[in-house]
Structures are given as C-alpha cells and as structure tokens.
Symmetry: C2
Subunit: 210 residues, 2 copies
Amino acid sequence: MFTLYSMQRSGNCYKVRLALAQLQIPHELVEVDILQGQSRTPEFLAKNPDGHVPLLEAAPGRYLAESNAILWYIAGGTPLAPEDRIERAEALQWMFFEQHSLEPNLGAAWFWLTLVKGGRELQLHAVEDWTEQGYRALRVMDKHLESHRFFAADRYTIADIALYAYTHVAHECGFDLTGFTHIRQWLQRIARQADHITMDHVTDSMAIAE
Amino acid sequence: MFTLYSMQRSGNCYKVRLALAQLQIPHELVEVDILQGQSRTPEFLAKNPDGHVPLLEAAPGRYLAESNAILWYIAGGTPLAPEDRIERAEALQWMFFEQHSLEPNLGAAWFWLTLVKGGRELQLHAVEDWTEQGYRALRVMDKHLESHRFFAADRYTIADIALYAYTHVAHECGFDLTGFTHIRQWLQRIARQADHITMDHVTDSMAIAE
C-alpha cells in the first residue's frame, strides 16, 4: 500500500489526495507539519533530500517527490492520465506551467497570507511580485478556458487537478476572480467531478509524523 | 516537419535544440529575440498566449509550449524518454524540480546577468533570493549524483537534458561549482553523449522572426 507524506492544508498535497480519492487507491497518510519543521528533520531528509511534501513511498524504501510527478505515477493507465502522444504533452505543458507560473505565485500567497499569516520573513516586494505574476498566469488560464472545458485531452485529467489546487483557494489569499468568468465556471466543473473531495477532507487512516 | 520557435541563448530553448539534434529529427528553427519583444507581438501571442519560447509547432496550427513538455513530445518512444511507470515518474520528478527549483534561479541569473547584463528592473533582493535558492537546488542535485550517474532510469534521458541546460552555464553567471564534484563530473558525462551540440551551435535552417 502507498504511504503519502502530506500536509493537510498544502495545495500540492491536496492534488495527490484528490487523485487518490477519485482513483479509489488505498493509502496511508502521514501528516507532516512543515510549519513545525517536520519536513526538515534528518529522518525526513533521508527520504527526500529536497525536504518537501508531498512525498509518496511508491514501494518500500522508494520515494517519489514533486506533486505533479506523483500524479502521473498514481494515475498512469487511467483516464486521468492521457497517454496519447500529443494529449500527454499538452497535459504536461499545463502541469509545467502550473509549477513554473502559477504555484510559485498563488502557492506563495496561500502559504504566507493564509497559513503563516505574515511573519518577519515576508517582504513587500514578494507580495507585489506574486500578485503581478499570479494574475498574469490566471489570464493565460482564462484565455485557454474561453474555448476549452478542460486543460487537456478534452476531458478531466490530472492537468485540471494540478491547476485546481491553488486556483480554488486564490480568493482566500488576495486574488479577485470576479473578472475570470471562464476560470470560475471551470472551478465549478472540477468540483462536480465524481468522488471529488475538498481540501478539508480528512482521510480515516491518518497518522502524525513524529 | 516541426517548426521550433527558439532563442539561441535561452537555456530552455537549448534543451529542445539539443534533443532534436541527438534524435536527428529534421526541423525548421525560427529565431525569436525575446530581448527585442518578439515573443510579445500579437502574431506570437496568437500562437502562445503565455508569450514564451521555446514553442513547437507540432502539427500545422497546433502549438506546444513549455520546454520540458516539448521534450516529452519529441522524445516519446525513444530511449531518451523512459516509459516504465516508476522510471517515467522519476524523470518527471527531476523535470518538475528543474522548472520549480532550478530554472527560476539559475535561469534568472543567466537572463539578467549574462543576457540583459543588469538593467533598471533588476533588484538586489532578487539576486540574493536566486543565489540562495539556486545553491540549494544544486546541493539537492549533487546529493543525488553522489550515488547515481544520471537523474533517472540509470541512463541518459531528457531529465538530464532539462537539468543540464542552465547548470552547464551556472559558472558564467555567478555560481561557483568548485565544491560540487558530482555535478561537475555529470556535466562532463552529458557533454560526451553522442551527437551532443553546444548552446552556441547554429542550425543550418534558421530563419529570423519578423
């Protein structure tokens, strides 16, 4: 059985929890509180030298990091992961866009403004940068959704899951989605997919990292 | 035939040019000078609303963005793209790491210090941030290479190509790789692969964007 090291309020971890739920894949969940330094202990760094969650123990002692790579691993062979050559590349295009252009901005806003709630390390220039770059990424997404119901392969895939994670909480950390009609309709479409769970959903088998 | 919109001195574009050369895939190259605003013209934005190169015209009118997604597309079905489920996920892990943790730092240093050479928009805090985060990413890579010859699948793959692009010029934009023994050996290993081309290599069929 897979073990997922995860933090409940992390969008990157939510992606994997959502896909596991929709694919009905049994797993154990180990809660890692990164705000308490639990992803930087010697024990955790031995599993993932990069010190990030989510982290999937795919086989005993074999650890896989990076939320979007984990999505490809767990969804491989299911309709959530397009395997047609051009459809796979288009799903990947949006998932790389997510990690390069969306998550560093909306994810940073979520982390600093909603989880940490400010703090000495937060600098004004950072807020300005992620606001400008975050809106820029949202405009690119909205433009695509003008003429597409989903991001790739004309169906619900892990590309949608990846982009949904931080976009669906953007309004909680300073982004105004009022003008982004197509994104707001897409958010509703994703939340209506079968076996959808919310970020707050608690899995029964959750353990806490020591 | 593929058309690749590319800028000669961009690391992200170099990845694709290198893979196309090693896979001996015929292509036309259109040089887009992003420093002259050529990736933000209405004509280019109609092809890629995100306004970035590289951009591959995979089929007439069908454009694929994001360097690492393009790598998966062009290398699909060849030994450069691992298709085994866990090996594919491990290659993807390092390619998402590259776009999230390495390229935003080493790529930014390359862009501002080597291509733009400073300028009013460059701020001191940005240099400090990308230096700290860039060295952090390099330490994670060096740790992996302590016990691995390549990044995934125990062979040369597109994960190596993705990570090579900005790492091999890091010393030209302020990063000191002296202490990174394993990275330096790996850089030599990559440069020795069959049909390797350097970033400066000029393809015969290059056109210039208008």
